[in-house]
Symmetry: D2
Subunit: 302 residues, 4 copies
């Protein structure tokens, strides 16, 4: 259960309080505001604020004085043009603020995206909750045998249950000990900033994370990708659903020019041109390493 | 005249269009939205969007679920605490987007603040307007005789009028020639990206500039300071007036802990302590260089 | 003449002073250190310091303890892998510091790359030199008739000489007036920070610019591109020559995966796949806008 | 034991390999290169590369052509001036690359400093070592009773030994289970990227961390401060010792103007001035909150 009844009721209250504003709004985004979308067993993503919309991207690109009189289809064309030609600054003119609850080992990947603002709950100051990510059985994957940095088949039978038992048992014992160490019942109580070191990386943390749309797209391109670890990809996927409603034209352009795009090396482009001209190009002919050739033929056939 | 009638009417229209939002708003800021505040003879600053308010700073600091039930005075205390202890991340949770019209030589100072998003009108793409900053007579200052990087007394009489004649004459001639070079009347017309090189640094440019509150405070501390060049300080001063209405508690804390603050070196603090204990400390005694001693006694008496 | 005899002799002296270091070095880069490579009529680029080499990229990727025992070909393979999969952080582990002399209008484009460190000479503090970029006749291009943001054919005959006369005349007059305004001969002398506003955008400025290799590659990809303005592209081209000698393996990977790469949208990739399967795809069939189709067929034939 | 014999011998080899360079060097820093300085029970800091020295800061500030002919005392004066007036860009012209081994919970604080480059060993890719930070008995502190975010007295007797037993026991059990889960002996073996979630926050990680001197000073000011958690402060203190030898003049200025500096709010400065004029100022008179008054009188007496 990612959020408590009290928290739910705070969210409902927040959604009940509207106010007039002169700022640009995004109807699609207003529908998402504050709602906590569950991710993993105890996590969530929710939008707590946003700035801008599709029109704001165009206004910034035009450095214009008003909302502009341009049609929606003009705006879409401009947005596609900007995305295609890597004009990133107009996309930076939109901003989103998320409240995310996530396992610490996911937070450590996420924070590597440096162009963002973050406020995380402090385990120096606060006592963390007893909440740990435990993978669903279908996500208990074996180490990949071809990729050092990936997953293979799902674990089965006894091996799976042994792993789950370990993860649950260790998490609970670690938390019991955490509580015992900080307890001030008949003892001084270890400092929180020290006691936290006993907690495993699947404990849940929370933060406010604020980022502009350009840098969010960069995050999504890397983290909604099939090579990203499943546990961060589910957050990225959920955010994609939200962004699609916030800035539909920008998201569509992002999908076409980034998410679904193919990047060809000079060598790769050369080979495709030879093929288009009817030539058959083999590995020996390609000038590529084995790894490159495998990735290339996976994408383009052989 | 910084803006045209058409632009004015676009602004009036924007201010006439309200919409409901679930987002936090700042009443004080809603009153400023879109209005162009004149700065210098042809420039302006206007807010085109904002995110957050005083309460949002506290919510981020608390990583909270709702608007929170804390009182305004609790929030003020927390904000002062955060500012005093250099906890900058909660202030990063507010964001402002400005539309600014400013001389190019001011833009070149301004852009040195890198943690911000910018869309400037492109003189490769557009034809710039015939608008140049010409200082008011009372701002025509002589080179300082004590500070290589500052101004002294105001120029007077013939010297002043000679300078104004030069600035006006050269600006207009440069612009006439710019127009002649790009004209396609009976000739090919020089590329805009080349013709612009003839325009002087007092020509007006425009941009959308978006920044978070922490970095805006940093900008304001440096640029609303008495050592900043007058022509950028007037922009900073105008922005201060706006921010004061946007986030009153955060601005008050900024004023006390940054704008009006005094920073003492270890040596300076030592001297003050000796003085508080009744000792008379002289330059010879101070361990300071002449420049430091001058700055120190200017601030604290001798 | 971009540099004076005195400056040349300072550079020669710097190249004469060697010292022992335990740091990794790049033989190729040592050959470039301090030498001023002329760019445009009065500009230059010169390396004043660097950190790292190809091996340092691999060491960082491996978080290794020593120089490592890996072979050069292993390192090349790893570097290609990192570049192909957008693992950018190991490239950030190399750093370069350049001293650049360039026209102000080029500096204004350049500075938009924010992830870099800059020290520019201050026209508040110093008096600028009488040096202006005047395009060579073969670079005096007309405005493009198909691209609002580009150049067309070269200007010819009288139109060209009229333009050159204007640029030279205005630059010299502006500088004469600049000197007259700041002169303290029989007058107070206008403050430098004000007088500079009369100087046109083709006056030369200088800065120290320091950037990591990842962000430098990003700069080079955009600025060594055929769509970049000629006057900044020549700087990027010169820097490419230097980087090639500094980190040969990384530069080769950059060339193949970025400079010579082709980026295909989802739609574009789809069309190529249909073509490879023998289908003929027309504009009507493509789902692309006219602009996209033109760019696509320019790259891939129709 | 923070490093193995093999690693030691790689370090010794690295220190044995000198080469000629034309770059500026810092004699003081050459003495530190590669050496691993132990921090905590299993951690270390070592410099793997650096760029620049005190003279380079001055050269950048002057945008100069050569090493310059300025005396060391001129350079010191300039450096103090730059530091005093917050001219930060010349300090950004020096760069340092560190290899650090540190507990994960320290790494999570450290990474919040975003303006730096990082390569961390990946627990998706690699198997982590069995190394955990266990506090020395004298650093086993109780939760502070006055500061929610701090430490109080040292734990004693049985309470201390109970805590140490828990930390050691849990760490070892977690690691045993980690090994069992990833083992491919008679089972598929859990993916590393999943198994790592069982490891506690005191496990050691490693990274290459590269930062410019200005941002390093910012890090040191916050983390070498008495309010910083002990476990990160010891890293900051060790880095201070290194920086002092690298850029002695800049470090001395940093010490005087930042580390040992006192920052006074407008109110605080006002009170000091009244006191210097002989007035006695009380809490009731001060306009300060209780917390501020306590901090103020702690620093300045009452």
């Amino acid at each position: 259960m990612p959020i408590t009844e009290d928290q739910k009721s705070e969210i409902v209250q927040s959604r009940g309080r509207g106010a007039m504003t002169l700022r640009p709004i995004s109807e699609g985004m207003e529908g998402h505001l504050y709602t906590a979308y569950p991710v993993l067993d105890h996590g969530f993503v929710r939008v707590v604020d946003y700035m801008g919309n599709d029109a704001a991207i165009c206004q910034a690109a035009r450095v214009s004085y008003g909302a502009g009189t341009k049609s929606v289809s003009d705006d879409e064309g401009l947005i596609r043009y900007l995305m295609r030609h890597w004009h990133s600054t107009p996309f930076e003119m939109c901003e989103i603020k998320l409240h995310v609850k996530l396992p610490v080992f996911v937070a450590r990947q996420w924070i590597r995206h440096r162009t963002a603002n973050v406020n995380e709950i402090s385990a120096r100051y606060s006592i963390l909750d007893r909440e740990f990510y435990i993978p669903a059985p279908e996500h208990l994957a074996a180490q990949s045998v071809i990729n050092n940095q990936g997953r293979g088949a799902t674990l089965e039978g006894e091996e799976a249950s042994r792993v789950l038992d370990i993860l649950k048992g260790d998490a609970n014992r670690a938390y019991d000990h955490y509580e015992q160490m900080i307890s001030q019942d008949g003892q001084a109580g270890l400092a929180r900033e020290l006691a936290r070191m006993n907690l495993p990386a699947n404990i849940m943390t929370q933060w406010y994370w604020k980022v502009d749309l350009h840098n969010l797209f960069h995050f999504l391109r890397l983290r909604a990708d099939s090579h990203a670890q499943y546990e961060i990809r589910v957050y990225a996927d959920q955010i994609c659903q939200i962004v699609k409603d916030w800035v539909p034209a920008a998201y569509a352009a992002f999908e076409d020019y980034r998410l679904n795009a193919a990047s060809l090396s000079g060598r790769g482009a050369e080979i495709l041109k030879r093929r288009l001209a009817g030539e058959i190009v083999t590995f020996e002919d390609s000038g590529m390493s084995k790894g490159e050739w495998r990735e290339f033929t996976n994408a383009w056939g052989s």
